[in-house]
Amino acid sequence: MTYVIGTNCVDVKDRTCIAECPVDCIYEGERMLYIHPDECVDCGACEPVCPVEAIYPADTLPTEWLWHLDAATAVTAGREDEPDAGPVDDHPDVLKLPARTGSA
């Protein structure tokens, strides 16, 4: 299992979750943050600190956000070997999302 960040994060990227994660498994893209599903240890520290309620455990992810798990899997693949390599490239489906402004 893993936690997954959904659409509410897009263009928000509060980043509190990054500071909270004890295993540094949250990676930053241009438009949103992604959790590496194999590095996530299911501790749940990120979920309550997200100000826009973007983070869910994979098994209770809203149906319309299910694709974010596949997106995060694709975007973070291989990053466990080079965790300090800077930002990740956003997933194509994330790039297609309309621009969001203000709070969610």
């Binding site: 295993v23 749940g44 520290a45």
Partner: protein, 364 residues
């Protein structure tokens, strides 16, 4: 007593070491397992952000490497937050008595050589309440893998100082600061004669897994101290060792046969001075007077190097992680089995029923 309770009769040779049964499928060879196979259906209940989650994930990710049947693996725990561990493993397990997991695991390991027995304990459970049991398991070299989660606090009881809390630490039970000198679990284990002693960090999955692998391969008691964060009652307990900005200057990664180097470019080193003590040197590769650079040897029969390494942080040096000591010693289990075999050879298989119902008794 009914016949069935004593059947089969408790006679014949005692337990002997047997290779642990590997999972095999006659047509396909070894069966592939994954971390998922070791997850139980229980909802994991630790505080969000607890280091225990990282250790659980690392253990579940590592166990498939062993290729053992889940029913041949047992996790025995004592009391404390970490001791909830067996509930979350899809193996056999026992949430046992405070501090007594090593004693229960000793009986299990000696009498059931077909099991891989793991003990899950914490700094309070292992070093305070169960300190006695721990040192005796270590000196006997029972075939146990002891994972000691050290977060330097009593978390389950909401934040009292533990046997590894730093001097001066202010907690609910030490409002003016702790006066106790803490235990260093690695020093304690080396002092108790342990054959395998290692230390790792909860958040470093690769290192944690490599240490688990080394512990699993060791026949005898393997003590693994795991530095673990308690983000509720002792947050940042090992921050200096985890923060990318500071860890390189404070963490010494022990590697067999390699000099003791640390720093972002390995620019610091550890030397042995004329008095025989280990201490940090100004420059790597430089020898100062008679000081000699030290090469790590976990297999040295003499525990002096392992002990000196364990004391480095107390002597102003970095904190070593990795395998401090890994020395072959006859395991308790094997010796018990051999002794039983000798007894059977000398006196026959024995008959427990006859002994219990016999006339051999004492009056006091």
């Amino acid at each position: 007593m009914s016949e069935s309770l004593l059947s089969p009769p408790l006679t014949g040779p005692g337990p002997r070491r047997v290779p642990l049964p590997l999972i095999t499928n006659p047509s396909e060879g070894p069966v592939k397992q994954s971390a998922k196979d070791f997850r139980s259906a229980e909802e994991v209940r630790w505080c969000p952000g607890c280091g225990d989650y990282a250790i659980l994930a690392a253990v579940q990710g590592f166990l498939p490497e062993l290729g053992l049947r889940r029913e041949n693996i047992v996790f025995v725990s004592g009391i404390g937050c970490s001791s909830r561990f067996p509930y979350y493993m899809n193996t056999y397990g026992m949430h046992s008595i405070h501090g007594r997991a090593p004693a229960i695991a000793t009986g299990l390991s000696v009498s059931r050589p077909d099991l891989s027995v793991w003990v899950i304990t914490g700094d309070g459970d292992a070093l305070s309440i169960g300190g006695n049991h721990l040192i005796h398991a270590l000196r006997r070299n029972v075939n146990l893998k002891i994972l000691l989660f050290n977060n330097r606090i009593y978390g389950l009881t909401k934040g009292q100082y533990s046997p590894t809390s730093e001097p001066g630490k202010i907690t609910k039970s030490t409002p003016m600061g702790s006066l106790d000198t803490p235990f260093n679990p690695v020093s304690l284990a080396v002092g108790a004669g342990a054959g395998f002693v290692a230390r790792t960090v909860d958040s470093d999955r690769k290192h944690l897994t490599s240490v688990l692998r080394a512990a699993a391969e060791y026949e005898g008691t393997a003590l693994v101290e795991i530095y673990q964060n308690c983000n509720i009652f002792n947050d940042g307990a090992f921050e200096v060792l985890k923060n990318p900005a500071t860890r390189d200057d404070h963490l010494l990664r022990l590697e067999q046969g390699q000099p003791l180097r640390y720093g972002s470019d390995g620019e610091h080193t550890i030397v042995r001075d004329a008095a025989g003590s280990l201490r940090p040197a100004a420059e790597a590769g430089a020898t100062e007077g008679s000081d000699a650079e030290v090469i790590h040897d976990a297999h040295a029969a003499d525990p002096a190097l392992a002990f000196a390494l364990s004391r480095l942080p107390e002597n102003g040096g970095p904190t070593p992680i990795g395998v401090f000591r890994s020395v072959a010693r006859p395991s308790y289990d094997r010796q018990v089995a051999e002794q039983l075999e000798q007894a059977v050879q000398a006196s026959g298989p024995g008959d427990l029923d006859a002994l219990l119902a016999g006339r051999d008794h004492w009056t006091v």
